[in-house]
């Protein structure tokens, strides 16, 4: 491993193979496409984050005194739409997945490289449409687009926003399609299903959801668009339509969507915990199958978003039961990750800090999901800040931390450089503290009765809101730091070498950055995933310290 500050005369790899904007915009190299996605979603992360800051600033005082009510409604709508469709859903699959899936299975590229590029262009076009919506007046339907509000009572860019998300959905579908075919058909010789890293299993499960669920979102949005423009009437009670039909169609996608967002993160965490514990993941098969179980069961619980919407008592009970069922595989994963650390050899590099943070915060968020699955409690807390806190614990405390975890872990492979470790750990800590300060008070204020999507609120909730906003500013600092030091590292970071972590996985067996076709020769796999006993075989002396 070379650790010199000056790189040796440059060998060819995927970054320096061709220069010029055309070589990037017309690339079919999955690694370059991953970086194109990285740029796009990072941009939208800051757009969505900016909206969040404005929201939190408005909520410093009970009165609506920073922005107009309509503006506030647009802020939370677009915060949700941007963060979900233009950041969370593509984040791990389209950035890390695109980069790593072919490498981890020993392939030269994804099955359909041109479709991969098309996926990026779809997201770009969708993003431009979204930007147009944002800059020319916004949309204020709430990210959930409930009817008849969105079809008959608003005059903002509803249809354009729906089209933007429709197109973004197809980007997601094609990524999922690509991954499924790639994982089925392009594994290197010897890379059996049972030897795949859990990152692959997670992305495979995610892809199934993307492929089966997203089209239903597409048709929901299409029907909303049709209803708005042509007055089709499918959701209009005055024409005999049923607004609840929209909710069923919408949530049939949007619940599995949350698993699209979290499963890839779980895959990252599995790989990282294994590496920094120097152990194979405890209960590998269970974790792998838990991913598939989450994907399947995730399709059966959508109406738990509708317990007070007017569904029948018996439907509510069935969905409550199924919602508890889907919690079981997630719990299994948390236990398995914890058990992986047992008798490991643990170090606290930045990726590991993020992974541990993920386990803690995802556990908290997931446990509050149990509260919501309990019908009696959900009636009280639904549509309050309790829900907002719940999903932010999972999406931000869970998923965004997992994304940061993965970015830091694979940054050396992607860029050939190390990020500065001290700053990495500092940022992780700042994010952890800022996050909890932002969102824990929201559980309290939600149970106390503060509804969500409120521009103005009762004064008794102010102190908790102030705490939350304070946390948000700390969180913002935490997210800005990596932006700065990742960019810094491209020029000044330590040269990483092929495998700075001595990690398991085919991606670490090639150079950093990798050559365009990933491997000099197609690898032939004869070992299981997470072969850390082999990788650490040089560490002689005592096998394990006596326990006790």
């Amino acid at each position: 491993m070379s650790t010199s500050a000056v790189p040796s005369p440059e060998r060819e790899h995927y970054l320096n193979k061709d220069y010029g904007i055309r070589s990037w915009l017309l690339t079919t190299d999955h690694k370059r496409i991953a970086l194109l996605y990285l740029m796009l979603i990072t941009f939208f992360f800051f757009v969505g984050g900016f909206f969040a800051l404005l929201i939190r600033l408005e909520l410093l005082t009970p009165a609506g005194d920073l922005v107009l009510a309509d503006t506030y409604n647009k802020l939370f709508t677009m915060h949700g739409q941007v963060m979900i469709f233009f950041f969370l859903i593509p984040a791990v699959p389209a950035v890390l997945g695109n980069f790593l899936v072919p490498m981890m299975i020993g392939a030269k590229d994804l099955a359909f490289p041109k479709i991969n590029l098309a996926s990026w262009y779809l997201l770009l076009i969708a993003g431009c449409l979204m930007l147009y919506v944002i800059l020319t007046g916004g949309v204020d339907t709430g990210w959930t687009f409930y009817v008849p509000l969105s079809t008959a009572f608003l005059n903002t860019h509803v249809v354009t926003a729906a089209i933007a998300i429709f197109i973004a959905g197809f980007s997601s579908i094609f990524t999922g399609l690509n991954f499924i075919v790639t994982i089925h058909r392009m594994r290197a010789p010897g890379m059996t299903w049972g030897r795949l890293p859990l990152f692959i299993w997670s992305n495979y499960a995610t892809s199934i959801i993307q492929v089966l669920g997203t089209p239903v979102l597409a048709i929901s949005l299409a029907l909303v668009g049709l209803e708005r423009t042509l007055h089709i009437g499918i959701f209009n009670p005055q024409l005999g339509g049923d607004p609840l039909l929209f909710q069923h169609l919408f949530w049939f996608y949007s619940h599995p969507a949350v698993y699209i967002m979290i499963l890839p993160g779980m895959g990252v965490v599995s790989d990282v915990i294994a590496c920094f514990s120097r152990k194979r993941v405890f209960g590998y098969e269970f974790v792998a199958l838990a991913s598939i179980a989450i994907a399947v069961l995730g399709f059966l619980v959508w109406a738990h978003h509708m317990f007070v919407a007017g569904i029948s008592l018996y439907a509510a009970m069935i969905f409550s039961f199924l919602s508890y069922l889907v919690a079981v595989p997630s719990a299994i994963k948390v236990f398995n990750w914890t058990a992986t650390m047992y008798k490991g050899s643990i170090s606290y590099d930045t990726p590991m800090l993020y992974a541990l943070g993920f386990i803690g915060l995802f556990t908290m968020g997931g446990l509050t999901g149990l509260f919501l699955a309990a019908l009696g409690v959900d009636v009280h807390v639904t549509d309050t800040y309790f829900i907002v806190a719940h999903f932010h614990y999972i999406m931000v405390g869970g998923m965004v931390m997992a994304y940061m975890c993965g970015l830091h872990f694979w940054w050396p492979k992607i860029s050939g450089r190390m990020y500065p470790e001290g700053w990495g750990r500092l940022a992780a800590l700042i994010i952890f503290v800022g996050f909890n300060l932002t969102f824990f008070p929201q559980f309290v204020m939600g149970y106390a009765g503060m509804p969500r999507r409120y521009w103005q609120y009762a004064p008794e909730f102010q102190v908790l809101n102030v705490l939350s906003t304070a946390g948000a500013t700390i969180l913002a600092v935490g997210y800005l730091l990596p932006m700065v030091y990742f960019l810094w590292s491209l020029r000044y970071g330590k040269i990483a070498g092929d495998n700075p972590w001595n990690a398991a996985g085919l991606e670490w067996m090639t150079t950093s950055p990798p050559p365009t076709f990933n491997f000099e020769e197609t690898p032939v796999v004869t070992w299981d995933a997470y072969n850390y006993d082999y990788l650490d075989r040089d560490k002689k002396d005592v096998k394990e310290a006596p326990v006790g």
Binding site: Y146, F282, N336, M341, G376, H380, G449, Q456, L464, D533
Partner: protein
Amino acid sequence: MLWGIRVWPERAALSSSREDALFIFLLVVSGLMVVLIFSLIFYFATRFRRSKGRMATQIEGSLALESFWSITPFAIFIVMFVWGAFVYFDEHTPPNGAMEIYVVAKQWMWKTQHIEGQREINELHIPVGRDVKLIMTSQDVIHSFFVPAFRVKQDVLPGRYTTMWFHAIRPGTYHLFCAEYCGTLHSGMVGSVIVMEPAQYEQWLAGGGAEGSLSATGQKLFQELGCATCHRFDTQGRGPNLVGVFGKPVLLDDGRTVIADENYVRESITTPAAKVVAGFKPIMPTFQGIVSEEQLVALVEYVKSLKQPQQSEPVSNRPPVPTTPAP
């Protein structure tokens, strides 16, 4: 309230402590889980810190452990599910004899209508110690009637009635919030539920309702809109006789039997063709757009008030088919 900070809603209804008990159980279980996981992680992270001379011990897994930590949580989840289902079932089963109040929601206010005739905007006066059932609809978009102190919430939909019930146990004034995003002033669609001692409540009731009771208003509308022309109180009408219909099963022309509840009555006025009573022709015109939601509420209440001695068979209101058209 703690130093002016609301950390827990007041317990003002029977449902409040029921729900709180379940919530506290969940809190305790979750708290224990968090403590368990966090301590295990801290312990493992320090105890098994990387050190020279010790390698990690590769452990494949353990079927016993996997079974344990799948089945045990699931068992606990079943308890949570059953308990939650009981609370929910209770919340969705209004007791017989509950006093009924109508609510019409619109952007961005709550209009409540007492049967005695009292109308309120953004306020709901109710007596303590009685079961109260709300029958609610929206004039425009979906809203949600939320009273944190009662721990109850129910979406209010356009085009149909949804119901909720509660039993207040403490006099006082409690927040009423709209809890389903409904446009510009969603956050302004707030008000109060004012729980009064029974005597005070009677006094308050007596002080208003200048237009008379809700069913009287409904009766007036019934005449003015021409309903009485077809829905005569004998068997000669072109439409079914509505006396005693409410709450009973009705046989429809396609063979189905439905219960004549508030939604049925409302639908019969706005979309009469949807359900046609057996033995009658689908000739009733629609009154959609002609009657407001508040007028519909009055008409529903009027139909409810048309009583008849108990009948044991489904009312089919099948008259002999008129040989000459009614005048």
